[in-house]
């Protein structure tokens, strides 16, 4: 079963960390990624660039309209995601719990990925 672990944190929070804290944060992420790779659970993942580079597309008067932003200073944003393929939902939650962003005020969302298989009802 595949799960997407969505990483939310406050934009810019990394800049406020000390060098030692930053090293610890990235070191932990690296360790977890290495473990997931070795266990054969890692499907993929991406880190997202700063939200100031965001473009938002919405319909306005029935036509797509593009705006810059949103520029959210204090609120959490989606900073990246990791997709894992693991045996149980508990295991997915366990992986998410270890993500260091959680300790620094961020949070993780564990979302089951829709599969294309289905049984006759």
């Amino acid at each position: 079963m595949k799960y997407m672990l969505l990483i939310f944190n406050r934009p810019g929070f990394v800049e406020e960390l000390s060098q030692a804290e930053r090293d610890e944060l990235f070191g932990e992420v690296q360790t977890i990624m290495k473990e997931l790779t070795e266990s054969g659970e890692l499907v993929g993942g991406e880190a997202l660039a700063d939200p100031t580079r965001t473009r938002t597309v919405r319909a306005r008067d029935g036509l797509p309209a593009v705006t810059d932003g949103p520029f959210l200073e204090a609120k959490e944003h989606l900073a990246g995601y990791v997709t894992v393929d693991c045996e149980t939902p508990e295991r997915a939650v366990e992986i998410a719990s270890r993500w260091p962003d959680v300790r620094f005020g961020g949070y993780m969302e564990v979302r089951a990925v829709l599969g294309d298989g289905g049984t006759e009802m």
């Binding site: 790779t37 070795e38 054969g40 499907v43 993929g44 393929d85 829709l114 298989g117 049984t119 009802m121």
Partner: protein, 715 residues
Amino acid sequence: MTDAAAAEDLLRSLAPQVLGTLVRRHGSFDACEDAVQEALLAAALQWPGDGVPANPRGWLLTVATRRLTDQWRSESARRDREAAVAAWEPPAGPVPAPGEDDPAGRDDTLTLLFLCCHPALTPSSQVALTLRAVGGLGTAQIARAFLVPEATMAQRISRAKQRIKATGARFGMPPPRERAERLRAVLHVLYLIFNEGYTASSGPDLQRADLTAEAIRLARALHALLPGDGEVTGLLALMLLTDARRAARTDGGGLLIPLTEQDRSRWNAAEIEEGTALITDALTWSPPGPYQLQAAIAAVHAEAARPEDTDWPQILSLYKLLSHVAPNPMVTLNQAVAVAMVHGPHAGLDLLRTLDDDERTAGHHRLAAVRAHLLETAGDLPAARAAYRTAARSTTSLPEKRYLETRAAGLNGEKTMRSYTLDVPGATLHYEIRGGGPTVLLICGGVYDAEAYSALASLLADRYMVVSYDRRGNSRSPLEGPPEPQSIAEHAEDASRLLSALAADPAFVYAQEPAYVFGNSSGAVIALELAARHPEQVRTVVAHEPPLLPLLPDADHWRAVLADVEETFAKEGPGAAMAKFGVEMGMQDDGGAQDGATEGEAAEGGADQGGPAEAPSPEILEMFARIERNTGFFIGYEVPSFGRHELDLDALRGSSAEIVLVAGEDSEGQPPQRATLIAADRLGVTVQRWPGGHGGFGTDAKSFADRLGELFGEP
């Protein structure tokens, strides 16, 4: 089979034998497995060009052994243990050593299966390793089938092999006391592989569907090795019987089609035959295990040519046995469906309730989906809709989500109209059911048929099970013999027979309660006659303008008119008879005279959403064609006898059914309304006035639906 396919088939069946031989000789499963993969790759590259060697097994064994030796050499060199290599030198030449003929290879396949399904591994690792080591599939193929990157799958397989190594498991059959347990694990892994392929939707996922073929191939191999094991036979039979439905289980767009709605002609007859033979035989000599029982259930489904031919009592008894042999909430879930089919949806819903507290199923989408289905059958549409939506939200399968959302959205009357037929003495009745809930029977008058009620029926279908039908001799309800004079009594009996048939069907729980009946014009006379004859079947009768001509003060005049109509029909045909009758009724001079609703009015009502300007729907246009055919039957065989019918007012007064008489606001003074007012007076009931004229059921369907809802009460 093409040469390439034949070569691949050969390679894949040799893979486990070669691996087995290699592991027995050299011990290291981990290293041997890599070596065999490399040999398979080399064969896949060379054989198509060079041709399959004379001794393919020997060829693979030689190549794999060389790779293994190279591998050991380089490692040994690094560790300065060159001397150890000599012991692993392979025998020279490609000829297999004595004792390495097929039987040994076949035993090796079994040993390998046991090893790959080692309890130290997670199920997904067991699956991956089995497909590679026993199935001979490459990592890339397995990765594609499970939709993960190749690196992920490679890592999973490598981790699984390390695990096996770490447990110190030797290459050999597990001790006898562990065998049964290990065989169960093997069967489970094969079942997982099968399901992964079977549940994949068609189209872009053919890669994944290939897994079913692979699982069947492995199950066949296992069955050949252990022909005396009932569960192995059962699993193979279950796979064949399930796979037989593959082509019919999804539509062109990949949307799931439930078993009952599948085109059974698309089921694979050869697979059904083979699977059925296997399971029938196994059950004669083996104690029934879970796979055998599931296969037996699949076989019972497969033997039914139509869904309604399904032997549900037998399926239910098999589920009972299954829940005894292998108690499991998923079995209970399926059992609830069988219970519902045998004892009605409420019995099924009762059984489902026992699963609400089971943490394995509470919140599971299957529980909500089955509950939704049973609620829909029971007629509780709002609850069914809610349960379908809950199920759609909790599934992680996209096709299931689409299916469940479609079901929830489809629970409005118009879309779920179902047609049936009922054999009655002398005729076959066509009837239609919309929605679910307490039964509302609609009896049409005159030349019309079930379709004339489509607007009204759809409006009521969100709360009631609305049943409408073509009366005998009309439209789609043919008489057995030539046309003959009809009687209100016989038509009332038809209505009674229809209600009895619905009550006898366990699917319609509410139908066991007395029904609400609405009739218009001659349909109203039939409805009243039904209440007089069978009060136990009717809760309320709403009769809209019954043309009870014998009650009119000028009854003698009407007797003469009817005799004239009869004579004109015999001498001059339906057209002239109809014209005479229309003039006398003082309503219309078109075909639908007695029943008032002009074609324009009916179209307006029948088209439902459409206003008067809307073009009639194809269904309405078809109805017009039927009405034209009905007109001759109506004027020739219904009007004379129906018009003379004398209602038993005493019986009606004594009937337990509530009687409501309705007159149209726009049909004041017309003969049917005058007769209605007199009937109300005689029966001691008041007359309600509803919008529209004699055909108000079509022109003012919304008002009629609201007023009927008020009279019948919201369920």
